[in-house]
Symmetry: C2
Subunit: 289 residues, 2 copies
Amino acid sequence: MTIIPAVSEMQYFAAHARQKLQRIGFVPTMGYLHEGHMSLVRIARKLSDVIVLSSFVNPIQFGPKEDFVKYPRNDARDDRLCEKEGVDVVFRPSVDEMYQGDHSVYVDETKLSAGLCGRFRQGHFRGVATIVTKLFNIVQPHIAVFGGKDAQQARLIEQMVRDLNFSVQIVVAPIVREPDGLAMSSRNAYLGENERNRAAGIYGSLCFANRLFTEGERDAARLAAGIRGFLQANASPLEIEYIEVVDYRTLNPVAIIESNVLVAIAVRIGQTRLIDNIMLTSDGYGVKA
Amino acid sequence: MTIIPAVSEMQYFAAHARQKLQRIGFVPTMGYLHEGHMSLVRIARKLSDVIVLSSFVNPIQFGPKEDFVKYPRNDARDDRLCEKEGVDVVFRPSVDEMYQGDHSVYVDETKLSAGLCGRFRQGHFRGVATIVTKLFNIVQPHIAVFGGKDAQQARLIEQMVRDLNFSVQIVVAPIVREPDGLAMSSRNAYLGENERNRAAGIYGSLCFANRLFTEGERDAARLAAGIRGFLQANASPLEIEYIEVVDYRTLNPVAIIESNVLVAIAVRIGQTRLIDNIMLTSDGYGVKA
């Protein structure tokens, strides 16, 4: 396994792999890897010849009051996990390598990024779209695998690939969960023991909404009220940022569920912001990840 | 010579050329080709194995009151010129092929695009950066050649390539001029005979500024006043949009000329907006294109 810190070296590697007609599979991460990331690597491996995992905590997708500085890092452990999983290249550039002092070009998504997390994280999706564009141009992947927990991000990347004509196939992978249902996230490391126990209620509330749905509930407001009640009963104290029922393609809120929808929530438990989601499909069955 | 209207076919052609290790040279245009465009093709040919010229009048870089609808077109003549000059592929997509109804992703440059033409053409450089990104992803060029008349555009594309890590070498070609000095432009076709004669004064005013500079003038305001006086005496009636002396890298206005500067002007003669520029270099000699 090779660890590459320089953009030019990564581009050289990618160009060389493409000349050999190897398919490049790409897993972009912010490091501090967990089983969720490893599931993305395994998917990428099935679909490609060479696996590149990027590990870069992207400063421009964090707001000024967010957790860029304290975001957890453990490069040595990450490398062991990648080696074990058959990653070929870990691309781990410095911030200076990725952003020049007079950086001035950004990629902006203007519709899908307005709601959900975009409403609470000003500039976040500009940061995401910009870094993913940069990484696509550097890693030159045929396939890129994104985690389904960040559903809005995944949808936005799909749109970006279409609108900017990237020749990259996007795969959105199912959410990987802890035994009690909590979606895996590097930020789970922030949780104290009591907070960690309450956090299981997040997925519990989505399962509750799923049950209401399979029993026939189609009113989005009543589903959201059900989730809210469940969270307050099972995960308090917590701060609910949003509970939304949206069309899975447009990410626009729906009032009555008629086709596939995404039920997405964001909460704060203590200082830690956590997100999760499930899809409810138009055939009348909810989908558990 | 092949004419390709479909994005997917163009991407296939490009991928195939790259597999054969051919270098792809790219000349993006809005069609209605003239000798300026042909000079770009000749530069591209020297540096690459396969030449792709795109011909696409990009609606999103025109303002609502600008000339998108009446922009001149002559595909048959363009094809003859391209054939003669050894272009391998003309990529000529429709607007629908390039922009889906719910297009929502744009590339924004936030510093270099603020002044000069950006101040008078809201959204223009978003349109330019977005279409060039799309074309780079579709044509997959090794080299792309841009005309020096659109100096701000060329500088912005260089910045975009750096900031978004495109593996494309940008070449900015010298301005090609008519015998009387008018910079070649598809929009010159809008000019009536009397307007066309006055338009020669645009380059005349830049030559006048160049003379002041070589004679020792270093005060930007006095140079601009000289240009203004020359235009009023030799190209009236006309409307002066801007006369600017800027650092050629940052495009920020300079008061005293100490290093390389760009002298850029935009005027309207009748209904026609025309731009031109010269570089003044720090060795004390102006550069005539």
